[in-house]
Amino acid sequence: MSHAAEFDEYGHKDHGHVIVSVFTLRFILIALLFCTLLTSGSAWAETAIAATFHVEIPQWINAFVALSIAVVKTALVVGFFMQLKYDNPMNTIIFVFTLLTVASFLGFTSLDLGNRDTIDRFKNVYAYPGGNGLDGGGTGIVFQSQINGVGKPAPHGEVEEKKVDESQDITHMGYLPEEPELGSSRNRSRPVMGITISTLPGYRSPAAADEGHAPAENLAPSKDHRPEPARPSDDHKPGAAETKGEPKH
C-alpha cells in the first residue's frame, strides 16, 4: 500500500496529450483513400478477370481481400486519428476487450448455426427398441450407422421394421428443394426450402410478374404462423385462416 499506486493509469502525463503532426494526419488520410480505391479496384478486377478469362474465382477470396483491407483501414483510423498509438494503454485494453467480446459473439453464434444436424443424422437412423445403440454387436450408434450406411436397411430384422421411411430421413429433410416435407423440427430451426416467401400473401412470383398480373392487394403479414406444408405458389390463399392470439402453453 504505497502512494505510488495512486492513479496508476494516470501517472503517464505524456499520454493523451500528444499533438499528432499535420504530416502524419495527411499521410494517414492518403493511405486510407488509397486503401478505399484498392478495395473497390480489387472487387472490380476480380469480376473483370473472371469475365475475361472465364475462370471461377472462389467467393472467399473476394471477401477475404475486402475485409482485410477494411481491417487495415480500421487500424489506421484507430491508431492515428483516434490516437490510440499515443494514448493511455488502458483505452487500448478496452478496445481489445471489446473486439474479443465481438469475436465470441460472432464465433459462438456461427458455431451453432454452422453445425446444426452434424450429429443428428447419426442418431436418427434407427429407432432401437429401448436401445442405447449397443445392441448391434456392441457397436455404438455412430459406428453402427456408419457400418450400415446412413439410411440403409439394418441387418437385424426386428430393427428394420422400426426404421423410418427413407424419404423422411433426416439428411434429406429440409435441405433438398425436392423434399418439401417439414416433418418434426424438434432440434433445428433451419429454414426449410419449400416453405418460402412465395407462400406469404402478397408475394408475386417472378412468373406471375412476367404475365403482368396486378400486384396482390393484401400486403399485411399473415396472422397464421403455423408451419404450413409447401404448395405450388399459384394456388395459395392470401390471408387465409386468421387465428387470433393462439393460446400457448
Binding site: D8, E9, T101, L111, L113, T118, G245
Partner: protein, 593 residues
C-alpha cells in the same frame, strides 16, 4: 488538499432557511433539490425507493401467480352447466369461466412478474442503489466520475419504468420475460403492447450502461491516495466486475430488441423461418446479453457478501486476491456460456461446447463460497439481521449454484428444460442470492444511509419469515420440476397439488416477511435511535472516515488510506467507542507488523 472539502451537514439535511414555510417553500424546494441532485448518495437513495417499489409490484404479480396455482382448475358440470372452479385469476380479471382468456391473463401476469423483476429490480438493484451510494465512499472519492450521467441514468430508468407501466396498464404482454420469437412477433393483436414493453427494456438498457460506464471510470480514476487495486474493498471489485459486463453486454440487447421491433413492425424476416430467418438466432442474441446479465445480477450480491461476512466474523477475508480475481473470472466466462439456455433448440455441437464451458463458472463461484466459509472459521460471528442474511446466502446460493450444474449438463437438461426445476434454480440464485444479499445489505448499511438504527427484533423476525417462506416456496418446485411439471402453465394435474400448495403458502410467508421488514424500516425512519458513525466496527472507508449519514461531499478532508479494508487482526476500528470492538488476535500479531 484540493478544494471542496469542508462542507458540513448531512446530505439528507434541508439546505434552506429554518423558517421556510413547509408547503410554499420547503417542500417544493426539497423536491427540486432531490430531482436535480447530482449527488451520488441522493441518486442512490432515489434508486433504492424506486427499486423497492418495483419489487413490491413484481412481488404482487408473483403472489397472483402463486394464488392461481394454489389449486388446479377443475371443470365440473353442475346442473347441465360447465363450471370452472379454482380459476382465481380468471375470476378476478372479470373473464369468469372463459378458460382461454383466463390463461392469457395468467401468461400476462407471469410475464410482468418476470419483466419487472429482471429489468426493473434485480439488474439495477444493488449497483444502482447501494453501489451508487457506497462506491465513491468506499474508494474515498467525492462522487462518481460523471455525476450528471448518473442523474441521467436515473431519469432514463424512470422513463423505462413508465413505458413498462404503460404496457401493463394497456393490458400487458404474454410473451414471457424473454420475448422469444415468434411469441413476441406474432401473438398479441394489440400491436403496441409488446413494442412498448420491449422499448421499455431497451431504454432500461441505457440506464444500465450509464451506471456501468460511470462505475468503471470511477474505480479506475478516482481512488483515494494510497488505495491500490488490492486495497479496495471487495464490494468495489464485485461492482466493478458487474459494471464491465453491463458495458459490454447491454448494447447487444439493444440491437436485439431493435431488430425485434423491426421484425414486428416491418416484418423484416430475420427471425421468421418463412422468410429465411431463424427464431433461434433471436435466442442467441437475447442470451448473449441475458446470460452475462445474470452475473450483473449476482456479482453485486456476492460483493455485498464480502463486506457482511468479514465484518460479521471480525476476520480478514480469506484469500483476498482469489476472491477478487474470481470476480473477474466470472465476468469473463459469463460471455461464452450463453448457449446453455438453448440446449433444446440449438445444434448439438454448439450444445456440447457450451455445456463444457458452463462448468467453468462453477470454479470461481466455488472459490468465493469456500473462501467465505474459511473466513467464518474461528471468527467471532455476530448474529445481527444482516449477518443472518449473509449466512442464509451461503446456504441458498450453494443450492442454487449446485442445481445449476445439473442444468449445465446436457443430458440432464434435456429432461429438466423448461420445468419448475429451472424456475426453482434461478429463484434460488436470483432471489436466494441477489435479493437475500440485497436485503442484508440494506440492513447492513441502513445506519450509514439514513443515520438511524433499525430494530434488531423486527429484522430478525422478518429474516426468519423470509428464510422459511423462501425455502417453502421454492424447494417443492425442485421436486415437482424433476417430476416433470412444466413452467409457465396456468394449470396442472392433480399429482402436483401438494407441491403447489406448499409453494403458494411459502409465497404468502415470504410476503409476510418482506412486510415485516418494511414496517421495521419505516419504524426506524420515524423513531429509530441515532446511529453512531461505525456501529458494526467495520474497517472500510465509508464507516471509518465518513459520519452517519455522510456529509454532502462525503468526507471532511481527502481520506488517506492507511490500513486495508479487512485488517481486523491488528486495527481497532476507528470511530467506535474504546473497548467496544477488541482485536480478535491482539498484541503478538500486531507487534510483528
Amino acid at each position: 488538499m484540493s478544494a471542496g472539502y469542508g462542507h458540513h451537514g448531512s446530505y439528507l439535511e434541508y439546505k434552506g432557511g429554518h423558517n421556510d414555510p413547509f408547503w410554499t417553500v420547503k417542500l417544493p424546494r426539497t423536491i427540486w433539490d432531490w430531482a436535480s441532485t447530482i449527488d451520488h448518495k441522493k441518486i442512490g437513495v432515489m434508486y433504492l425507493c424506486a427499486i423497492l417499489f418495483m419489487f413490491f409490484l413484481g412481488g404482487m404479480m408473483a403472489i397472483f401467480v402463486r394464488t392461481e396455482l394454489f389449486n388446479p382448475n377443475t371443470v365440473t358440470t353442475i346442473a347441465g352447466k360447465t363450471v370452472v372452479a379454482h380459476n382465481w385469476i380468471g375470476q378476478h380479471m372479470g373473464v369468469g369461466e372463459n378458460i382461454a382468456k383466463s390463461n392469457e391473463y395468467y401468461n400476462r401476469t407471469m410475464t410482468l412478474h418476470g419483466v419487472i423483476m429482471v429489468f426493473l429490480v434485480i439488474v439495477p438493484s444493488v449497483p444502482a442503489s447501494l453501489g451508487n451510494f457506497l462506491l465513491p465512499l468506499m474508494i474515498g472519492a467525492k462522487d462518481v466520475a460523471f455525476p450528471r450521467l448518473n442523474l441521467l441514468s436515473w431519469y432514463v430508468y424512470l422513463v423505462g419504468s413508465i413505458f413498462a407501466v404503460m404496457s401493463l396498464v394497456s393490458g400487458g404482454v404474454d410473451t414471457g420475460w424473454t420475448f422469444y420469437t415468434p411469441y413476441s412477433t406474432m401473438t398479441d393483436d394489440g400491436y403496441l403492447r409488446v413494442v412498448w414493453m420491449v422499448t421499455a427494456a431497451f431504454i432500461l438498457g441505457f440506464s444500465s450502461i450509464f451506471t456501468g460506464l460511470n462505475f468503471v471510470v470511477t474505480v479506475h480514476k478516482l481512488r483515494a491516495p494510497g488505495m491500490g487495486w488490492f486495497d479496495m474493498p471487495l464490494f468495489v471489485w464485485g461492482i466493478y466486475g458487474a459494471a464491465i459486463i453491463q458495458v459490454l453486454a447491454t448494447p447487444v440487447i439493444g440491437i436485439t430488441l431493435l431488430l425485434m421491433i423491426f421484425e414486428r413492425t416491418f416484418h423484416i424476416g430475420i427471425f421468421d423461418p418463412r422468410m429465411g430467418g431463424d427464431p433461434v438466432l433471436f435466442q442467441h442474441f437475447f442470451w448473449f446479453y441475458s446470460h452475462p446479465v445474470v452475473y450483473v445480477m449476482i456479482l453485486p450480491g456476492l460483493a455485498i457478501m464480502n463486506e457482511m461476512i468479514a465484518t460479521g466474523a471480525r476476520k480478514p477475508i480469506f484469500g483476498y486476491r482469489a476472491v477478487a480475481f474470481s470476480t473477474l473470472a466470472i465476468a469473463g466466462i459469463s460471455f461464452i456460456v450463453w448457449g446453455h439456455h438453448l440446449f433444446t433448440s440449438e445444434g448439438e455441437v454448439a450444445a456440447v461446447v457450451f455445456s463444457a464451458i458452463t462448468f467453468l463458472v462453477a470454479i470461481p463461484s466455488a472459490v468465493k463460497i469456500f473462501n467465505w466459509i474459511a473466513t467464518l472459521y474461528k471468527g467471532s460471528i455476530c448474529l445481527n439481521t444482516w449477518n443472518l442474511y449473509a449466512l442464509a446466502f451461503l446456504f441458498l446460493f450453494s443450492i442454487g449454484g449446485l442445481t445449476g450444474l445439473f442444468l449445465g449438463s446436457l443430458a440432464v437438461d434435456m429432461h429438466l428444460h423448461d420445468t419448475y426445476f429451472v424456475v426453482a434454480h434461478f429463484h434460488y440464485v436470483m432471489m436466494g442470492g441477489t435479493i437475500i444479499a440485497f436485503i442484508g445489505g440494506i440492513h447492513f448499511w441502513w445506519p450509514k444511509m439514513f443515520g438511524k438504527m433499525y430494530s434488531e427484533i423486527g429484522g430478525t423476525i422478518g429474516f426468519v419469515l423470509v428464510f422459511i417462506g423462501f425455502n417453502l416456496t421454492f424447494f417443492p418446485q425442485f421436486v415437482m420440476g424433476s417430476q416433470g411439471m412444466p413452467r409457465r402453465y396456468a394449470n396442472y394435474v392433480e399429482e402436483y397439488h401438494l407441491y403447489h400448495m406448499l409453494s403458494t403458502m411459502g409465497a404468502y410467508t415470504l410476503l409476510a416477511g418482506f412486510l415485516t421488514h418494511l414496517v421495521t424500516f419505516l419504524h426506524s425512519l420515524a423513531a429509530g435511535k441515532k446511529a453512531p458513525p461505525n456501529p458494526w466496527g467495520s474497517l472500510t472507508l465509508e464507516w471509518t472516515n465518513a459520519s452517519s449519514p455522510p456529509i454532502e461531499h462525503n468526507f471532511d478532508h481527502e481520506p488517506v488510506v492507511v490500513h486495508g479494508p479487512y485488517d481486523y487482526d491488528n486495527v481497532i476500528p476507528p470511530q467506535t467507542k474504546p473497548g467496544e470492538f477488541v482485536l480478535p488476535r491482539p498484541a503478538a500479531v500486531a507487534i510483528q507488523h
